[in-house]
């Protein structure tokens, strides 16, 4: 009976078949710069590689922003959607990466691998800070405490005392690209591929994590933390692990952001940036991992095009879109899709039983 939950024999062909959706979307996104170059600019394929582009270059940049937002949102989905920890301080996870990487490169002139290492260590320390209050406060109180952490960071980062480092309200600017492949201005296509690779790498990694023994415990904590504790899981360490993973991931998104944007503004530490992560996973489907990526694309494109077409009224329209979404697609795009897939499967099974002389008692066979 339970053998249906086991996975079937592995093999390259089988692996490719199971991953066909992922591989297809990867191939599409690799082809994306070439396609838009032809459509938007009417230029050849060589123009993409040589970075000799017009509007298509901007669209590549927009795609990179989607990747950054996707990596950032996926880490929030692990915390909130998978494990059920309500944190409102997630922007700080991102901002520590963004500001930390920029300051280390610009002011301290560290080599980029060293800077990455320092940021990762900072992210881990930060995760432990967030974990420290876990046993003391729960639910909405935890959300408020983490919001407090992030607010303190937000205020400190734009203080005039740190203006030499972080650039006060204006933000951090003038961070030079430390390596040729991190240069979004001159090597846009290479940088695009790098971000795409990281984006898919993180996605596959997160899928594995959720499916792993530890990932199952994360889900158990979301479902019934007391029971998980009674089963013998020290839930505190599992939640700490979640925060560490998410913190490093969000910091990674922040570092890419610093490389991609000319200015890192204090907004990336603000409450709205946390709310953005929340909206993205609400759009995509909470706890689905895939939803964070789809949500990121929908959110960023919606935001950009509504702003372009409607200007000042765009905020109102985005708000209206969310209200409609929460009302009619409450489980997000991926969540709703999966529920629909289950219903279709149930319907198909019932039909099959009907024709094969079903014996489940509910649908008597017709002679």
């Amino acid at each position: 009976m339970t053998s249906t939950t086991l996975d079937q024999s592995a093999g390259l062909g089988d692996w490719l078949r199971r991953r066909r959706g992922l591989l297809a979307s990867f191939a599409l996104l690799v082809a994306f710069p070439f396609v838009i170059s032809i459509i938007v600019d009417g230029q050849g394929l060589a123009a993409v590689v040589n970075n000799d582009l017009g509007n298509a270059r901007f669209l590549q940049g927009l795609a990179i922003e989607v990747f950054i937002l996707g990596i950032y949102a996926i880490s929030y989905d692990l915390i909130l959607g998978v494990t059920g920890i309500l944190s409102f301080g997630h922007a700080m996870f991102f901002a520590v990466g963004a500001y930390g990487f920029g300051i280390l490169l610009k002011t301290f002139e560290l080599a980029w691998p060293v800077a990455v290492l320092v940021v990762v260590i900072a992210a881990i320390i930060q995760a432990f800070l967030f974990a420290l209050v876990l046993p003391r406060v729960h639910g909405i109180t935890y959300a408020l405490v983490t919001l407090g952490f992030a607010s303190v960071f937000w205020i400190v980062i734009q203080s005039s005392d740190l203006a030499d480092y972080a650039g006060a309200e204006i933000g951090l600017q003038g961070v030079e690209s430390p390596a040729w492949f991190l240069d979004t201005t001159n090597e846009r296509f290479i940088f695009y591929l790098l971000c795409l690779g990281i984006f898919f790498g993180i996605y596959v990694l997160y899928q594995r994590i959720v499916d792993s023994p530890a990932g199952r415990v994360f889900v158990a904590i979301r479902e019934n933390e007391d029971r998980a504790l009674m089963l013998g899981y020290n839930t505190f360490w599992f939640k700490t692990l979640v925060l560490v993973i998410a913190s490093i991931t969000a910091a990674l998104a922040g570092m890419i952001h610093t490389m991609h944007q000319p200015i890192v503004t204090p907004n990336v530490a603000g409450l709205f940036w946390t709310v953005t992560a929340l909206l993205v996973i609400l759009i995509g489907g909470m706890g689905t991992i895939t939803g964070a990526l789809i949500g990121a694309a929908v959110y960023r494109l919606l935001e950009y095009y509504l702003d372009r077409w409607f200007g000042g009224a765009s905020g109102l329209l985005i708000g209206a879109a969310y209200v409609l979404l929460v009302l009619y697609v409450p489980f997000g795009i991926v969540g709703t899709w999966r529920a629909r897939a289950v219903r279709i499967k149930q319907g198909r099974d019932r039909l099959l039983r009907l024709f094969t002389g079903g014996d489940d008692g509910r649908t008597p066979a017709r002679e």
């Binding site: 339970t2 939950t5 086991l6 792993s212 023994p213 415990v217 479902e223 504790l229 089963l231 839930t235």
Partner: protein, 259 residues
């Protein structure tokens, strides 16, 4: 026979109320030991103290001669004490299989592994199938736990306690809320687990008939204190028990009859 679990002068106060009043109980290895008493006798509080979910005001709990009074909840299970709750406590939105599998996984040392699929850890899957067979839920393995009827949820919970193969099973009213005709089925299950696995079972029950037929020893609690202890025959012959427990029941039964 040796004592496996011992409560020594166990006391718990909630404000002015003394819920458990200096109770001494010794539970012998391999027996089915029941704790009974009228409502408010302190059975569940006593139970929570022994299993580590509540801290006593005074007194100690010993497991195989070791002091386990201050052991955190998640560690008692690793020592070999499994407990169930009066209120069904499962993962409602996970499948029956996953509920039990999580219980099996807790036993091993793989729970912090992050990169391999949980389906690759065969030992837990095999153990899950074994446990599901034992509690008779094999056919319902892929159902979402919340959709099970109440009786099956109680069985599932029993399975989750059985999964790590504990030496001591502590069951707090396992038949609570069950239909009368389902009760013997579950009690037979408990008894067969105790006998075939040579386990120690500590049972808190309200249902007197059930307790009398399956127990090796019975402890009677009344108003937080220990009233009597002995074999089922001794208990049913005990006058104090009759007046305090049975008497009360008979009185209320008589009242119901006259009203």
């Amino acid at each position: 026979m040796s004592v496996i679990l011992e409560a020594k002068d166990l006391r718990r106060e909630f404000g002015a109320l003394v819920a458990v009043d200096d109770v001494n109980v010794q539970i012998e290895e391999g027996t089915l030991h029941s704790i009974i008493g009228p409502n408010g006798a302190g059975k569940t509080t006593f139970f929570n103290l022994v299993s580590g979910t509540l801290r006593p005001t005074a007194g100690r709990v010993f497991y195989k001669g070791e002091d386990i009074t201050d052991l955190p909840v998640h560690k008692t299970i690793h020592r070999g004490i499994g407990r169930s709750f009066q209120i069904t406590n499962i993962f409602p939105f996970l499948t029956v299989h996953e509920n039990v599998r999580l219980a099996c996984q807790a036993l091993g040392k793989d729970s912090f592994r992050l990169l391999r699929s949980h389906r690759k850890y065969r030992q837990y899957l095999d153990r899950t199938d074994e446990v599901l067979g034992q509690v008779g839920l094999t056919d319902k393995a892929l159902q979402v736990a919340a959709t099970l009827p109440h009786g099956d949820q109680r069985k599932l919970e029993l399975g989750m306690i059985l999964a790590p193969d504990p030496e001591v099973l502590m069951l707090d009213e396992p038949t609570a809320g069950m239909a009368a005709e389902q009760v013997p089925e579950l009690m037979n299950l408990v008894q067969s687990i105790q006998e075939t696995g040579d386990k120690t079972v500590v049972l808190v029950e309200h249902n007197m008939n059930v307790v009398m037929s399956v127990s090796d020893r019975i402890t009677v609690m009344h108003q937080g204190a220990l009233l009597a202890e002995g074999t089922p025959a001794e208990i049913s012959a005990d006058e104090r028990v009759q007046t305090a427990y049975l008497g009360e029941l008979y009185d209320s039964a008589a009242e119901e009859g006259t009203s």
